[in-house]
Amino acid sequence: MAKKLDKVDVVVVGMGWAGGIVAAEMAKAGKKTVGLEKGEHIKREDYIGVKDELRFDNQFQIMQELKKDTVTSRNELDETALPIRTRKKMQIGANLGGASVHWAGATYRYWPYEFEIRSKTIERYGEDKIPEDMNLQDWGITYEEMEPYYEKWEYTAGISGEQDPNAPKRNKPWPNPPLKESPSLKLFKDACKELGHKPFQVAAGNMSQNYENPDGEKLNACMYCSFCTRHGCDFSAKSDPLATVIPTALKHDNFELRTRANVRRVLYDKDTKKATGVLYVDENTGEEYEQPAEVVVLAAFAFTNNRLLMLSEIGEQYDPETRKGIIGRNFNGQYNNAFAGVKGFFDNKKFNLYAGAGAMGAAITDFAADNFDHTDLDFIGGGAIELRQYGFAAISSSNNIKEGTPSWGADYKKESLNYAYRALQIWYTNNTMSYWHNYTDLDPTYKDEYGDPLLRVTYKFGSGTKEIMEFGVEKCREIMEKMGADYIKEDSIPEEFDHEFSGGHYSGGVVMGDDPETSAVNNYLQMWDVDNLFVVGGSAFPQFGGHHPTPTIGALSYRASEGIEKYLKDKKQLVKAKTKTTNA
């Protein structure tokens, strides 16, 4: 029998950016709050002295172990899904700080168009522009409403950036100036200018200088060491929850952090339609605990938010046959359907590519969102074109070979050594849409270590998926030609989703909106059906915007925190639902 603990105001499940922000805001507001984290209580010290490519980039040390829990995946509704067994194919953040500890730091706000993508697409191109298979939805919130939350997150995180000439004018400047400009970035920017585009330095969650955030947390200037993406920062120079919101929360006695606390159920009272708390297992001892709370916040990764609702039988499971139900609907993400581009090989240039920082890069947004005319294009939206200098260690620098060169043997050796520091990649970070046939539910066969079914992902490409990628590759090629590459290798457009869950950009399934028939949560991420249950994170994205997701997750988490405080005061549904009119 689970041991029942004392009731608290707020219990938060998952301690990444989303949960960390909610925890810090609740702690600051004086609410009695418990944060539950499945993983270890890691600290900055865990990353000192371990700049090791094999351990982190190839064997994925800080990603979730899959032995106990993974997802299953398939393309077609009548296909048997198989479990994703290795971390090469499935990278989910684990431990305190979540995926945000290993993120690169690329920071973009989503566009005004993207938050109202359905309305604005119809307004400019007519309803016929939207393909039949696409569940295109507005977010139920506008950019103007999001702006203060973006700003709050950016200042907490200490983002280093400069104004994107295409983006709405910022209310306040970025908290820190942009990162340094390396020769590869300059080459990209010069080529873009020649083509009439408007390049700028990617805003980065890597500090360009020492910084103290509004909560008093201190971060250090980035050293460009390159061990950034998929690694934790040894220097508190990357904007992550370990350097910011988690220490902020821990400063308050009314906040308690419990790590290795694996939540298995949200406890739900069907009569009162309230969540009463959560059931979790202490992974050190195997003991079960019940943590009652006035408000339950699911702030885990999108997969876990989806699955916990399903296992707890909260909300109606989406069924693609009837197209009814909400939970699991509009599952989306950037898989092999995004980030295609070109690699340019330079015979007479050599770049210091072993140095870099996760979000050090240059970009253009001339082909993002609706910044360009789509009248004659067979897709909706867009993305940035980026060149990033992450800093590449030796194994990853051994892959620069031309089309047709074998991947082993003497020819491979010669060519890969020659081009190790003479090749640059650029790509298109295009948005990805939600389609009626893509969703999550519980797998009928495969189970986790406790015998609970794994989450099953059903996902395939829909209308516009390949077209937007082909468009991006073509634009990347034009830029790379202008950059003067001697040889250009185009990424091939994949035939179908390849069940590779790398990159961490998977979202939806518990989406936000203004209509309970097409969304699970309102624009405070409060469930329509369960007033004291907030589901926070990428799971709320109705479709995936044309940029990296983290800033929007951060902003939505501040928005949700405000909602939780409102709920604790008024104890009611915060938003009046609209009837189904816009989403025919």
Binding site: K89, S182, Y224, C225, A394, K413, T445
Partner: protein, 266 residues
């Protein structure tokens, strides 16, 4: 040792370890001995690896006392598997005028140690059945076998084909024939079919792990003396590169490994 029985080299690729010559003094082989130059190999490769091969091996005193004592097999039990592994890794990353190959870099021992780790035992993979190995690689690894078992199965199969089709052990036949066999695996050819793992999946594992062994930190047993990094111009881990990040000339520096970076206390 005596080199009397050494055949003249057919080409200049330094493909074999000194041990292979020791072997030929004791074991009659039907295959053609692909040539090798003894010098350099001794310099680079496993002085600790002088155990005799199979029955009737040499009784010469090995030079093991001079070498790196961590260069010993702890996973592969059969000499033939390990010799096949070494020869195959050398074809994937051969020694040439650009620098050392997989054997000189210690890659066979790197792979042996990897197989003997959580990675080789698939310790962090989801391992529940049912399994369907024919669905790899579309769905990623789906084998019931773990990586170490796949290595043993695949290496065995490589050597079986060498003996059946080329009349010799894989490590003894001509490099062209070795490549031909490896290409069968790479192409998932019917002749390389195995029960439990696709041939191309095994080949990709062998290929990728070999490249890891060339370029991973020397702490793991490969990339000996950071020779892999030196060939590439990779300097290894540092506190940071703030001082050179804006420089337009390529900045070269003597490489340092993790041990140096960590302070190498003990």
């Amino acid at each position: 040792m005596s080199n009397d029985e050494k055949r003249p080299p057919e080409n200049n690729e330094k493909q074999f370890s000194r041990r292979d010559f020791l072997k030929t003094t004791g074991v009659a082989t039907g295959g053609i001995l692909a040539g090798s130059l003894l010098g350099g190999v001794v310099t680079h490769f496993g002085d600790a690896n002088q155990e005799p091969h199979g029955e009737g091996g040499t009784t010469e005193t090995p030079e093991s006392t001079k070498g790196n004592l961590t260069d010993a097999r702890v996973f592969f039990s059969r000499n033939s598997d390990f010799d096949t592994l070494a020869a195959a890794a050398e074809r994937i990353f051969p020694e040439d005028d650009l620098g050392p190959g997989a054997i000189s870099l210690g890659v066979p021992y790197f792979i042996d140690k990897q197989c003997h780790s959580w990675w080789g035992f698939n310790g962090k993979n989801y391992t529940d059945g049912p399994h369907d190995f024919e669905k790899t690689p579309k769905f990623g690894i789906q084998e019931k076998l773990n990586r170490g078992e796949i290595f043993k199965l695949g290496l065995n199969k490589i050597n079986e084909i060498a003996n059946d089709e080329f009349d010799g052990n894989f490590w003894e036949i001509d490099t062209k024939d070795q490549d031909e066999i490896l290409k069968k695996f790479e192409a998932n050819d019917e002749s390389a079919k195995m029960n439990g793992v696709r041939a191309d999946v095994f080949f990709q594992l062998l290929r990728d792990t070999t490249i890891w062994g060339v370029y991973a930190d020397p702490a793991y047993g490969g990339n000996r003396n950071m020779e892999g990094w030196k060939m590439m111009g990779y300097p290894g881990p540092r506190m940071g590169w703030e001082g050179i990040i804006e420089e337009s000339d390529f900045h070269e520096e003597e490489p340092q490994g993790l041990r140096t970076y960590q302070g190498g206390k003990m």
